[in-house]
């Protein structure tokens, strides 16, 4: 186990390093922020001076080595726009990002799994069709449309919930629901098909023959196995929720990491782009590692090599 973890951490480090290098070079190929930082009446000379001052006219490899050296010491550079450490900029968005991502993920599970079980248990009835239909709709609906619709209904017409921004729990509801919808729908479908799979297995028949209640058969036996693919999906999903919830964050003016990254790209704030990518990559590989380790508990057939 220990050796496995160490091995994986090594691989994780390599993955993060590669991703960072890739983003570093690609971002710089697309231009630099010196024009954006210069006042409108700057001369060409002044803009070139700004570029020089920022060190952006040096060879790419030189810039990368300097960045790598700093990164190894924990310094990911200063944000061009905000004049403070890029890592702080990114980390300061984490609480709100986690708040939204965790809530959405929880919602997706709490609603998706029971729905999936229900659909599987009541297969071929109207409940199954309704649930599956709803799931398909949930997966197809574009998030920005859903978000705006929820805003119009609950925020403007009914005035039940705030339209955007952060604050108490009431501010969290609409964005979390919007973000959770896709995940919820997919989880429901996955659980349903997983359950159907399990329900056809012989051991389920054995369990029923033993006299166990339907409830125990489904949940304690069937669900356990059906959840394995769901766990895989969660690990991928969560990372996406952290860094990729841009649309929801934009619609609800939620101060999350997704929006930060997109803004940084638009303003060519290289240090923030890099810091964001590193943080997201690190979280992603760590979550994957945790889930892989947990697999050995969930599924005893799995061995870590």
């Amino acid at each position: 186990m220990g050796r496995y973890v160490v091995n994986r951490l090594g691989q994780a480090l390599l993955a993060v390093a590669c991703v960072t290098a890739l983003v570093f070079f690609v971002a710089r190929v697309l231009g630099d922020p010196s024009t954006l930082m210069a006042p409108p009446e700057a001369t060409v000379q002044q803009v070139l001076e700004i570029k020089h001052r920022m060190g952006l006219d040096r060879p790419l490899l030189v810039q990368f080595l300097e960045f790598a050296r700093g990164a190894l010491q924990g310094d990911l550079g200063q944000s061009y726009r905000q004049g403070r450490p890029a890592l702080s900029v990114v980390m300061s968005t984490l609480p709100k990002t986690l708040e939204l991502a965790l809530t959405a993920q929880l919602l997706a599970l709490v609603i998706g799994i029971p729905l999936g079980i229900l659909a599987a248990a009541r297969r071929k009835t109207w409940i199954d069709s309704a649930t599956t239909g709803a799931a398909v709709v949930g997966q197809s609906v574009p998030m920005f449309w859903l978000g705006l619709m929820l805003i119009v209904v609950f925020g403007v017409k009914l005035r039940l919930l705030p339209v955007s921004g952060t604050g108490g729990v009431s501010h969290l509801i609409l964005p979390a629901v919007t973000l959770a919808t896709y995940s919820m729908a997919r989880t429901a479908r996955l659980v349903r098909s997983g359950m159907l799979d399990q329900m056809g297995q012989e051991y389920m028949l054995t369990a029923r023959a033993k006299g166990l209640s339907e409830h125990r058969v489904l949940i304690s036996h069937g669900l356990r196995n059906a959840l394995i693919p769901v766990v895989t999906i969660i690990s991928l999903d969560f990372a996406v929720l952290l860094g990729g919830a841009v649309v929801t964050e934009t619609v609800f003016a939620w101060p999350g990491l997704g929006r930060l990254v997109v803004n940084a790209i638009n303003t060519r704030d290289f240090p923030v782009i890099q810091a964001s990518v590193i943080v997201i990559a690190v979280v992603f590989v760590l979550i994957n590692l945790i889930v892989d380790v947990l697999y050995t508990v969930i599924d005893p057939r799995v061995r870590l090599t």
Binding site: V156, G167, L260
Partner: protein, 562 residues
Amino acid sequence: MVACGFEQTRWRGKAVKARMLDNRRGRSRLLPWGTAIAIAMVVLLAAVGCSGSEEANTTAGNSVSTQAGDGAAVASTTTQAAPAESSGQVVISAGTDPAILDPMKAGTPHPEMSIVSHIFDFLVWTTPDMQFEPMLAESWTLVDDLTWEFKLRKDVTFSNGEKFDAESVKYTIERGLDPKVESTDRTTGFISLDNVEIVDPFTVRIHTEQPVPGMVLRLSFLAMLPPKHYSETPLETLAQNPVGSGPYVLKEWVKNDHVALEARSDYWGNQPKIKDVIFRPIPEAGTVVSELMSGGVDIAPNIAPEDQATLEGGGLTILQQPGARRMQIGFNFKKDMPTKDKRVRQAMNYAVDVDTIGNALLGGLASKSFNLIWPALADPSIKPYPYDIEKARALLKEAGYENGFTIDMQYPPGRYVKNNEVAQAIANDLAKVNIKVNLKPTDIATLGPLIVSKSTDPMIFLGLSDLFDTTYDLTVLDRNYAMNPIDWQNEEYQVGIEELQRTVDPARQKELSYQLQAIAYEESPWIYLYWNPDIYAKSSRVQDFEIRADEQIIMRDASVTE
């Protein structure tokens, strides 16, 4: 399938005993769980630890809609209750969060300069219709070509207790030129400063190496800073903690969520009527409209023309004006295209039906203008090219392009009101005279370096800001200027503009300005389109609020009713 007990398997010909596959024995469950939890804890601690230090920038005080649970108190806010005169709250939306509130590094008119204009004062104040008024400077004179003298108010204190005097002015100007500060301040680059002389505690003389006719304009952008605070605090802290002499102080800044300003009780000027001014970054237009309708936001800029009816139906007031952004299509002369012929350029000016575009797409707010220069400063005898398709065809025929040609046009999509649709409409108009325009939407960050190196497409559709100043406006065609995307080599214009930049005498300025305008009109290095309309929405709660041509939203004189 596996049965209980030991199972023999064969691997590479040797019998290998397999362990029991019953997970209740022989396998520890603790280890994997423990490992997983350990990793998760480390990650969470790191995340909380790194972000915890950020919370120190917010107060745990009352704020509009934030859970300030983890906030620690901020050092720089004064927390006296505002006097009975200031009350109420107004919420203003912006497209982005401010990046930085150090006034010498703030870039965007809104929200950054809007916020700066509440927290700081200037020597000279710009009114909503872009006139200059004395503010921290009571009066000023031009002593000689190279010397400006300013007499300062004596009753001003900064919110941290420092007194405003000639030292503050000297410090501020010198800081603007300090390379360590890396100011993007538009003022100081032009000052060509020799030195700032303190004549007496409330009189300052600015000596320059070259004549600077636009000194007052430049100083109207330069927020006055308290020397002690700004020289003793690290740059990084100053970026987030502005301290000025204005009527408001920064109460709280939760990144990407809101900036809260609170009225001071000891402001030297008119006590603001509104106590709390909150700026909220809301990037999505649909959300802004919803917030306006539900009362979450009181004032919003950049309203799309098609949302006006909805908003007016919801009880909001629409404020609009032809704004101060010059929408034009520049011809990039670096490329060898038919547009090098003056007649072709003029033809294109005749061929674009701006008025129809304005009515159809921009709610009637835009009309064809010779918009090189702010109307109040323009030569009144110059009328914009009228829409005359026959004249366009005649000119093209004369130039030998009766059958037209194909040309590429770049523009930053979505950056200005409906500019995607406008670009298509213009391409349509030009198609009628056989000119086929290939539209190439390119985002502004990518476009930036192309503009500076003058290597954009042969046609480039932009909205360039206007500063209500003759020299500034006409400098946009100076070929040394970074933001001039076209490589227009016109000696006569170049000589003229360089002289204008050094001319202090208003009469000669006007003469040169009219000459340059005439050249620009005749040579048509641009297709002159329209002034980009500014459309704002305002809730009925807000009174005495005027929109400004410089796109800033300022509540100093406004009030709210409940």
